[in-house]
Amino acid sequence: MAQEQQPRTVIDAFVIGARRGLNVALNNIAPNVVMAFVIIQFLQLTGLLGLIGKVFGPVMRIFGLPGEAVTVLVSGWLSLGGGVGAAASLYSNGTLDARHVTILLPGLMLIGAQLQYMGRILITAGMESRQILPTMLVSLIVGLVAMFLFQFIV
């Protein structure tokens, strides 16, 4: 936020942050959520969502989730907004319930946006290519383990 003025008062600080929130919501969240809703709609109308649910059902059961929840993790891996959009859409059409969403949230955040982060973190920080794969694997493992354990708390 180099172009932003330094806040002088509490009100200034709030408005600056609020503006950042509006920008994020408008430019990042809304487009990704719309995309995710369209993808879920597409999968549902083509019958692919049911197929995904069946195929991934046994795997996702490990985390206490229905098979369709895999779409949340995959779209979340690509973009966080897409992941939450998919989760919200599946909640709206009754595929996921509140407990499922609660289990998914930490996993989604931990696995989220890894594709972008490969460039934005690992390359920026100057890591060598041999270190990149283990780093991303660890983050995947951590996300899955977090969901697995969290299901027993929720």
């Binding site: 950042r20 990704n32 609660t102 708390i153």
Partner: protein, 221 residues
């Protein structure tokens, strides 16, 4: 999103900073969400309020029910905006009052035992909780200035890549799911932070096993 202004290290930590940090934790924890009387204003979901209702029986907000596709997605995104605006506004106030500097001061001595990176990474770590790019940029600077070794950089990057920009993303994108959660909103957030630390330690173990070159180099400090 944030840039270099986070590199400043001379921020004074006073009692106001600790009060701001405490406020942030209480505000987002949900412990006052069902409080009676004035105490409830100390809660995020209370201040977030509610939409007016429409439709028969007044059960629906403007998004309605039974929508699908792009239109429903867009209206859903609209319902999120007030929460995101409020959350990032409050976080900005907490930051302005030094709340994050206080968190940094409390965290720094714990970094070595907790994730095996030196305390000097505290500022970069707190920055990374807010902004992916600020955290990554500062990590590069720390390595290039010799403050951290190659292995420490890898461990630190592993910490960052899982749920990076944790505060910002959780209270913006993550906020999309707050309405459906079965727990107070702070619970998944704490789980995320714990597993970021777990991830960094997995990487530590892995590096120890692989026996990286820097292990033999005493220049590591």
């Amino acid at each position: 999103m944030n840039k270099e202004h986070l590199l400043q290290t001379d921020e004074k930590v006073t009692w106001v900073s600790y009060a701001a940090l405490l406020f942030a934790i209480v505000f987002f924890s949900g412990i006052f969400s069902t409080a009676k009387g004035w105490l409830q204003v100390l809660d995020f979901t209370v201040l977030q309020g509610s939409f007016g209702t429409i439709g028969e029986g007044g059960k629906e907000v403007f998004r309605g029910s039974g929508g699908t596709g792009a239109r429903d997605g867009f209206l859903f995104a609209l319902t999120l905006m007030p929460s995101v605006i409020l959350a990032l506004g409050v976080i900005s106030v907490v930051e302005g009052l030094g709340g994050l500097a206080a968190a940094q001061k409390l965290m720094s001595p714990l970094l070595k035992p907790l994730i095996g990176i030196p305390g000097i990474c505290g500022l970069a770590l707190i920055a990374s909780l807010q902004s992916t790019d600020a955290g990554a940029g500062m990590t590069k600077t720390l390595y290039e200035s010799g403050a951290i070794t190659d292995d420490e950089r890898t461990v630190f990057a592993t910490f960052q890549i899982s749920a990076d920009a944790t505060i910002t993303n959780y209270f913006s994108s993550g906020a999309a799911l707050f309405a459906f959660l079965g727990t107070p909103i702070i619970v998944p957030f704490v789980v995320i932070l714990v597993f970021k630390i777990v991830g960094a330690n997995l990487m530590r173990l892995y590096l120890k096993k692989v026996g990286q070159k820097t292990k033999n180099s005493p220049a590591a400090a």
